[in-house]
Amino acid sequence: MRLLLTAALRAGRILLLMLLAGAGTILLVRFAPGFFSDEREMDAKYAQAVQTELNQETEQAQSLRLIAIREVKSWLHGDFGESRQYHVPVAELVGARLRVSGLLLGQGLGYGWLLAFCTALPVSALRKGAQIWGLPFTILLAVPTAAMATACILAETGGPVVVLSLLIAAREFKFLRSLLEGAWHSPYLLQGRAQGLAPQALVRMHILPNVAPQLGALATLSIVTALGAFVPIEVIFNVPGLGQLAWSAVMNRDLPVLVAVSLLMALVIGFAGMLSTHDFTLEAA
């Protein structure tokens, strides 16, 4: 019963987060200068009377309440409205690009974490020289995503997955190293070493189970990092994914697409946060 209540509360939190994200996007776009400009206004063939009608139409469309109602209706309908720039249902646009971005994010996160963890584990056990081993990650951290992506294109090596993986690895290495350093120097591990346990056994039996909850929280942060970074990566590499769609929606002030992407991001982050929460895992067990 308690488990159900906790799950319901967490689901409610995700829903609230999504609602706030949707409302925030609508508010931001509603008050953006020039958002409601209509290209027909610039056409000389339209008479003054038609221009007045256009102005009245715009005034009606500017009502925050009407925009919100229209957006909610489109969510309930399931098509998330019609894109202003492509004139097709947003669900259709997002659906086609979801797989591309999902694959990029999944691979980037997987390889990034593998690289960061496989380097941080031995480096954190070192008594000297840990700073030197960590230097490549520090340098990577100082390179903006866009510059990294451009460098890959110039060098004709690597692609979006490599850039995202390197970015995730650079961000997580620092945290993983300090987390694992703490674990390597804990008293129970010293005891295990003194008893002659092999490093592999120490990692499998003592280090990993102890740092698992923190790793979960770190993974959630990685998802947020990856969701932020995949926009410039997709734009620069011309990947037809959600990031590119979001960028083009931002440039063209396409409110229905922006709201849909914001909701999707809030949903993914909310779920990731829910799954990584320590007490939820314990209760479920």
Partner: protein
């Protein structure tokens, strides 16, 4: 001693940039039509870009604009975070919950996406200096939640300190307690939070600029200078095209080492 080396290098870079701008024969927007994509020469030490603008002057201006803008934005963000954190710590439970929910919302959505949205929805007909101010103001307006969380945690811990209770018992109002006692105690939190924001804002501006949403032309910025790397004709002519990215990475590494030092000391 070690901690002073990054500061000294940074100050030298700033001094060099200021001297370059003061002694330069051209402004950063001056187009030398006879020297389009020119290589290194006595007139243009690191060559020119596709519009014939002197690269040394533009890089120096980009460094100063980036550092000044990011520092100002970091100061504003720290101020907003301080007000927000203290308000959440010393208000009623429901107000605190609402405030923390707002910060959670900002924290949970990808930063660059939010920035991109906020920056692109601003006026289309803005001057370069207005776009620069707007870009850094947007950075300041969106960068506060993590910092506010840290200040909130610090304030909540100190709220029940003995000297706070003593102050209350002596009849001091909350506002006086915060101003006279709490803020000095929280000072060790402000500097690391401020320093973390500076490189983060420089990177964010560079990423925004590379997407065409940063500081407007002809004003130079790290982001707009990164766009030069897309020009293959320019790349084939001169290796000085890589100067902005090399300098940007160097500045970020210096700031990173400075931040780590301050965090360790705190």
């Amino acid at each position: 001693m070690k901690g002073r080396i990054p500061v000294a290098i940074l100050l030298l870079l700033i001094l060099a940039a200021v001297l370059t701008l003061v002694l330069a024969r051209y402004g950063y927007e001056f187009q030398d039509r006879d020297a389009i994509m020119a290589p290194t020469s006595a007139q243009h030490l690191t060559g020119t870009d596709e519009l014939g603008r002197d690269r040394t002057v533009r890089v120096a201006a980009a460094l100063l604009i980036g550092l000044t803008g990011a520092t100002a934005a970091a100061a504003i963000t720290t101020l907003i975070a301080t007000c927000f954190g203290l308000l959440a710590a010393f208000s009623t439970r429901w107000v605190a919950i609402a405030l923390l929910l707002v910060s959670d919302l900002f924290l949970s959505l990808p930063w660059l996406f939010l920035l991109m949205m906020a920056r692109s929805l601003l006026p289309l007909t803005a001057s370069p200096s207005e776009t620069a101010v707007t870009t850094f103001l947007v950075l300041a307006a969106l960068g506060w939640p993590a910092c506010a969380r840290a200040i909130f945690r610090g304030a909540v811990q100190l709220r029940s300190a003995e000297w706070m209770i003593q102050g209350h018992a002596c009849g001091l109002k909350t506002r006086q307690l915060v101003r006279l006692h709490l803020l000095p105690h929280l000072q060790s939190l402000f500097l690391p939070q401020f320093l973390v924001c500076v490189p983060a804002f420089i990177v964010a501006e560079a990423n925004l600029g590379a997407l065409g949403l940063g500081v407007g032309e002809p004003m130079p910025s790290w982001g707009s200078m990164l766009l030069e790397l897309d020009n293959s004709a320019l790349l084939a002519r001169s290796h000085w095209v890589y100067l902005p990215i090399v300098l940007l990475v160097a500045v970020l590494l210096i700031l990173e080492s400075l931040t780590s030092k301050v965090e360790t000391n705190a």
